[in-house]
Amino acid sequence: MLNRFANPIRFLRLADQIQPWAAILTLVLFAAGLYFALFNSPPDYQQGETVRIMYIHVPSAWMALFCYTLLAITSGVAMIWKHPLANLAGRATAPIGATFTFLALITGSIWGKPMWGTWWVWDARLTSMFILFFLYLGYIALQDAFDNAEGGSKAAAILALVGFINVPIIKFSVDWWNTLHQPASVIKFSGPAIHSTMLTPLLLTALAFKGYYVWLFLINMRGEIAEARCRALQVSQIQNAQVAKVATSDARDAHAD
């Protein structure tokens, strides 16, 4: 009856099969991506060499949004089907997503220095990435703010859903705010205009990051599952010890009569 719960053994066996493939895929793709980004692609006519920073800035921004979407999906699953592994999946995804957002911000500001002359520009994309970073921090902080981990994950799941609904609204309002205060950003960098030779390193790095996510996600999940088991065992050992103590005291009374 109890194994109605998600049996982690199935998940762990699945993880064993996927993990080596994810590892190989990540390393190969990242190597290829680096090769294309640094050696094989021509410098941009306008920005010159600094366009190479874009090859890691844009994929990490994509990863930031990708991980937040996954966070919202796992939270939805956790709330609707009360799937215990879904909560753990949220705990495993959040740090990876937060790190990619942080990387997107860092590379964005480094990219801004040669192009716009200052480390930080209140550009619409960078600002909404900055806000997304705080949504991640809120999720992670809320998870660990409670004594029992399950309660924390449930509250964080609701926050992830609320945040997910608000991300498009925030994006829309920041774009509105940006057009209001800054008629046109200096470099109108529109997507489709990306030259085809630039597309291959961009996609390779993006796929490499996704492979990296799967790889690290599985590792984090193992840790989270082990952590959850430790919690369950510690609590049940206390419980068994208590029941045992009660049993021995009854036995002693019976013996005494």
Binding site: P8, D16, I53, I56, P95, I219, G223, L233
Partner: protein, 79 residues
Amino acid sequence: MQIEDKISMHAFMEFIEMNGHAAFIWSSYGIVIFVLIWLFIVGVQFQTKSETKLSQLNPRPRHRSGVRSERKTGKQNEA
């Protein structure tokens, strides 16, 4: 022999120098790779720490990929 080396050396230096933006490009790549590796190490440490904690709490044969079969047989012939 001398000239090719010099040319390749020159090309290599020029490549590194990325006409003036070397610092920005290499620093951003360096930071990204460093942070990704650091996050990976943190993940692995977290996994091993909690799994060792688990094995101490519950010494019965746990699901360990690969190790599982020999652990189980080891158990059987002991019992």
